[in-house]
Structures are given as structure tokens and as C-alpha cells.
């Protein structure tokens, strides 16, 4: 088992004439938190969508856990072990929190049509286990008491956490979070930070897009900075913070 969980090389993606990503490399080490930062429109979410199969790259290679996932469909990539959340929350709004998480157990359940109709003991046990696992995950992210509430009635912070619980329910090796702290207040951010560290300590690798620089610099082991679809800096938080190219991208050329 190699130490590198995800390795992307020379990734390109363009939409018509717009080059959203050009020649991006990244490698994520198992058991770490990898951050992806950059100004608006830098291509962070595009890179996310490449990794999770929503877009297909126009060039480059993408290997996850030793397998190429470059041309895989989103649902296959989930089965390989990549789970994600969305920048603008995409919960199943009218299901309860618990049901949302139960949906994500889909690939770990076996019941087919006949199993569903006749409900033999094996299926009953599977459903019960699915329910209790979903409940456990809700507790894990700290919204255990909200299990039976309709997802879109939850507070914004709780919706974000529900999305994380839902992604965790697929039992990912890599959890990709697209701006998990967006719209959260400082207290919520602090609990989120602890949650993310907890997830990493429990053995899941994290890939994080985030605008909150304090949060990113605080918890990420490695960082990539994107600007105009290109990777302008890579390294630890400390290295990136001092990088002149990064300072220029964020503050303009006069500031460096």
C-alpha cells in the first residue's frame, strides 16, 4: 500500500475556450488533511469535480489507491472510496436527516427487488444495521438529536454537518469537502475544525477547499494554491504563506 492515496498529474480541463485547469499536479498522502485554496474562479471546484467524476478531464492522469479513476462515473468513484460534499449544500431536502444518511449507505446494502418485497431476516437485519449506523454518524458529527427533522429545516451549520455525515456513510478513504465552513459563525467553525481533525484521526484522509485561511492554515498538512486554473504554489502551510506568488495572487503585485 503506497503512502500516496490520490495522485493527479498534468490534469487539464477546459470549457470551450476557457481553460479552467491547466497542468495541475497533486498528491495526497494517506491520513493527512490536504487543502486547496485560491481566489474565486481559480478552478478549485473544477478540480473537485474531476476527482469525484462529475467532469471528465481533458488530459492528465488521476490515480486513486493505485487505480486510475480518470474516466470513472461518479457512482463508481464513490465505490472506490471518494466521498464529497457540495459547495452549495445538496441535501435531499425533504427527507429526514436520518434518511439522508441512510440513502448514502446504498452501496453497503444488498437488498434487491425481491429482498425489498419479501424482507427476509437478512434484509431486516441489514436495514436495522443501516439505521443504527446512520444514527451513529449523526451523533458523530454532533446532530444526533436532529435525526427525525426534515433536512431543509435544519440550521445552516447543521445542514453542513449532515452533509459530512452523509458523505461519511459511504465509508470513504478520501473525504472531499467543498467549503464546509462557508456561512458558519466562529463557534461553529471551531466545532467544525475539531470534527475534521477527529475524522482524520479516525483514519480518513481529507481534501478541503476553504476560503477561511485561518482554518486552512490551522489544520492542513499540505496545501495547493490555484490561480487561473494553474497551481502556483504547493507545500506546508508555512511555506505557502511566505510564497511570493501566493501573496501576489491574493493581494496584488504591489504588496509583495
Amino acid at each position: 500500500m503506497s503512502a500516496i492515496l490520490l495522485r493527479g498529474q498534468g490534469l487539464c480541463k477546459h470549457f470551450g475556450g476557457l481553460k479552467a485547469l491547466t497542468d495541475v499536479n497533486l498528491s495526497i498522502v494517506r491520513g493527512t488533511i490536504y487543502g486547496l485554496i485560491g481566489p474565486n474562479g481559480a478552478g478549485k471546484t473544477t478540480l473537485f469535480n474531476l476527482i469525484t467524476g462529475l467532469y471528465r478531464a481533458d488530459g492528465g492522469t488521476l490515480e486513486f489507491d493505485g487505480k486510475s479513476i480518470l474516466t470513472c462515473k461518479p457512482h463508481t468513484i464513490v465505490r472506490c472510496g471518494v466521498a464529497r460534499t457540495f459547495q452549495n449544500i445538496r441535501l435531499f431536502g425533504h427527507m429526514t436527516a436520518l434518511e439522508n444518511v441512510m440513502v448514502a449507505r446504498h452501496t453497503h446494502l444488498k437488498a434487491g427487488v425481491f429482498g425489498a418485497i419479501f424482507r427476509p431476516p437478512a434484509v431486516r437485519a441489514e436495514e436495522a444495521a443501516c439505521r443504527s449506523e446512520a444514527q451513529r454518524l449523526l451523533h458523530y458529527v454532533g446532530i444526533g438529536t436532529q435525526a427525525n427533522r426534515i433536512a431543509r429545516e435544519l440550521s445552516y451549520g447543521d445542514q453542513r454537518r449532515l452533509e459530512i455525515a452523509r458523505a461519511l456513510a459511504t465509508e470513504p478513504k478520501l473525504l472531499a469537502l467543498d467549503e464546509p465552513a462557508a456561512g458558519m459563525n466562529p463557534t461553529e467553525r471551531e466545532t467544525l475544525k475539531n470534527l475534521l481533525l477527529q475524522i482524520r484521526n479516525d483514519g480518513t484522509t481529507l481534501l478541503l477547499i476553504e476560503h477561511d485561511v485561518k482554518l486552512v492554515l490551522g489544520i492542513c498538512d499540505q496545501l495547493s494554491v490555484l490561480n487561473f486554473g494553474q497551481c502556483i504554489a504547493q507545500g506546508t502551510a508555512e511555506q505557502v504563506r511566505r510564497d511570493p506568488a501566493v501573496i501576489t495572487a491574493y493581494l496584488g503585485s504591489g504588496a509583495a
Partner: protein, 356 residues
């Protein structure tokens, strides 16, 4: 404690009453309105099966299918071909009905496989076309060799029978003879209850959750590892198989099938039952099916005598008036109860925040 124990007893009593009502319904209806009303009751049961089948596609998975009646036609024609003098096959209904489910299921998959990439309106148009194609096939397959007997349809179809008992002979109870519609009522009732049971089980399963997830947000559903194409295909195929069974029962009951029974209007009718009753909510869909089968018949019974007494003759054909009233009812329901007459809690919320 006593209250907790009393509640299930009440629920059971409720179920018991419902069962009793369903059991004696044809006798009461027959007593009040004559045998033609028992026939209408039979058709209501058939339409419940159809509506519940379509509900899997439209209500659970959120795919608009406007050609659903094609699967009903497939089931009906399969029965007609395998159990009539037309091709001189006389296969038992108990073999044809499961076979009809299977073949309709296959037809559903065949239609779904190339079209499920389409979304929303585009899918609706393609399924509408499919429904018409099937009907036109039935209409024109009397050449080069006579398979479907064209527009004349196939008559003299064998009735459903169970051992020695033929459902067409009716039943004799307490020295009184009741015609075939009574016997078929019980057959249809059993089939409908099986369909309801299957729907309830599917709704609360891994598949049911996946369908609803796709309806709510297809991209998020994919991100949960759901193979949306296969799961949607399954909804199509399962819904179609219910249609196939209902079609077979229809052919056996009616003794006659022709392409006229499977027009676009019939598809629209079934969609209306689902939408009017409450998409995705099984009791709602049943209510919709019953209402839409029975109301036109009541109207027919009222409007003709009313016109005669008012004008001395029939001014408007009740069949035409039916469509006008139908449209009006739909408009009113969409205005005042956009989620249907009896929606599920979830669906009601979904539709209420879409409207301003």
C-alpha cells in the same frame, strides 16, 4: 400503559372494518346501482393497479411517463394472443399473468435503456411517442400475417379460471346467483392488495430511498454511490410489470381487446390519477384512481336524466362534458392543492415551496 395497548387494538379494528367493507362492497353497490356499477368497481380496482404502477415511475423516481398505457396494452394483448381462438392457444391465465408481468418489464427496460438519459419534458415526449407506437403496432399488425387482428381487435378471449371455477360464470351465494363482475371483483381485489403490499415494501427499502433521492437531487444521489441509470431503469421496469398484470386481467375480464382501449387519453388518465391523488403517496394514488374512475360514471348517471328533464332532450353528450369537467377539476386541484388531494407530508412541502 393502557393507552399504548388500546391503540393497536383500535388500529386492528380499523383494518377489520376496512376488510369487511371491501369484502361486501360489490353486494352493496350491486344492490344500490345494479350490476353495471359492480363492473365499474372492477375497473376502479384495475385502475388502482395501473396508477400504483405508474406511481413508482412518476411518484417515487420523478420520471414523467406519458406512454404508460403501452405496458397495459402489452399485458392485454399477450393474454389475448395466448388465450383465445385467434391463434388457437389456450394457455392458463396463471401462466400468462406472470409472463405478462415479465414481458412488460422487458418492454419497460427496452424503452428505458435508451431514453433515461433524457430528463423532464424530453423524457415525457419520448414515452408519449412510445405509447403511440405500441398502439399503432396493435392497429396494423394484421398484415403481413394476422397477429393482432388490426382495429377489429381480438374477441372471444378465455376467461380467467381457477381449477374448475370459471370467473365468467359468476358466483352463487345463499341460493342467489351473482354475475361474473362479482367473481372478478374478488380476483382483482386480491391482485390489487398484492400490488399495494409490494409498493409499500418497495417504498421503505433501499430502492425506495434511492428513487426518492434521485427525484430530490440526481447529482447528489450519484455522489452517494447510486447508479442512477440502473435504479431509474428498475423503476421503469417494475412500474411496467404492474401495468402488464393489470392488462392481462383486463383482457380476461373483458373477453375482448382492441387498440382503442390503449389511446393516449388512457395514459393521460392514469397520470391524472397519480397527480390528482398525490404523487408518491400510496393512499393518495388509490384515492385518485377511485375518484377518476367513478366520478365520470356518476356524472353519466346524473347528466342524462337532468338534461332530459330540463330541455326535454339530450343537448350535450356526457362524454364531451366529462372532459370539460375533468379539465376544470384538474385546474382547481392544481390551484388549491398543488400536491394532490391526499399528498404525503414530504411531497406537500416539496411542492409548496416551489409555488410562490
Amino acid at each position: 400503559m393502557t393507552k399504548a395497548r388500546a391503540l393497536p387494538a383500535k388500529v386492528w379494528a380499523g383494518y377489520g372494518l376496512m376488510a369487511l367493507a371491501l369484502l361486501i362492497a360489490p353486494f352493496i353497490v350491486g344492490q344500490l346501482g345494479g350490476n353495471s356499477w359492480v363492473r365499474i368497481l372492477d375497473f376502479a380496482l384495475l385502475y388502482i393497479m395501473l396508477a400504483l404502477g405508474l406511481n413508482i415511475v412518476v411518484g417515487f423516481a420523478g420520471l414523467l411517463d406519458l406512454g404508460y398505457i403501452a405496458f397495459y396494452a402489452v399485458g392485454a394483448y399477450l393474454y389475448a394472443l395466448l388465450a383465445s381462438a385467434h391463434l388457437d392457444f389456450h394457455v392458463s391465465a396463471w401462466i400468462i399473468l406472470p409472463l405478462g408481468a415479465l414481458i412488460a418489464c422487458g418492454a419497460g427496460a427496452l424503452l428505458g435503456a435508451p431514453t433515461l438519459k433524457l430528463r423532464g419534458d424530453y423524457l415525457a415526449v419520448v414515452t408519449l411517442g412510445f405509447g403511440e407506437i405500441v398502439r399503432l403496432f396493435m392497429n396494423n399488425l394484421d398484415r403481413p400475417f394476422n397477429l393482432t387482428n388490426g382495429p377489429q381487435g381480438i374477441s372471444g378471449i378465455d376467461p380467467v379460471s381457477l381449477g374448475e371455477f370459471g370467473f365468467n360464470k359468476g358466483i352463487t351465494l345463499f341460493g342467489q346467483h351473482y354475475p361474473s363482475s362479482y367473481a372478478y371483483y374478488y380476483l382483482f381485489l386480491v391482485c390489487m392488495l398484492i400490488v399495494v403490499f409490494v409498493c409499500l415494501r418497495l417504498e421503505n427499502s433501499r430502492l425506495g430511498r434511492a428513487w426518492v433521492a434521485i427525484r430530490e437531487d440526481e447529482i447528489a444521489a450519484q455522489a452517494m454511490g447510486i447508479n442512477t441509470r440502473n435504479v431509474k431503469l428498475l423503476a421503469f421496469a417494475l412500474g411496467a410489470s404492474f401495468g402488464g398484470v393489470a392488462g392481462g386481467l383486463f383482457a380476461g375480464f373483458q373477453g375482448f381487446v382492441s387498440p382503442e382501449s390503449f389511446t393516449l387519453m388512457e395514459s393521460v388518465m392514469v397520470v391524472c390519477m397519480v397527480v390528482l391523488g398525490g404523487m408518491g403517496h400510496i393512499p393518495g394514488v388509490i384515492l385518485g384512481a377511485v375518484l377518476l374512475t367513478i366520478t365520470p360514471e356518476i356524472l353519466r348517471d346524473i347528466i342524462n336524466p337532468l338534461q332530459r328533464s330540463l330541455f326535454g332532450r339530450s343537448v350535450v353528450d356526457p362524454e364531451n362534458l366529462r372532459m370539460v369537467l375533468f379539465g376544470l377539476a384538474l385546474v382547481l386541484v392544481m390551484l388549491f392543492r398543488p400536491a394532490g388531494l391526499w399528498p404525503s407530508r414530504r411531497r406537500r412541502e416539496e411542492l409548496e415551496d416551489d409555488s410562490p
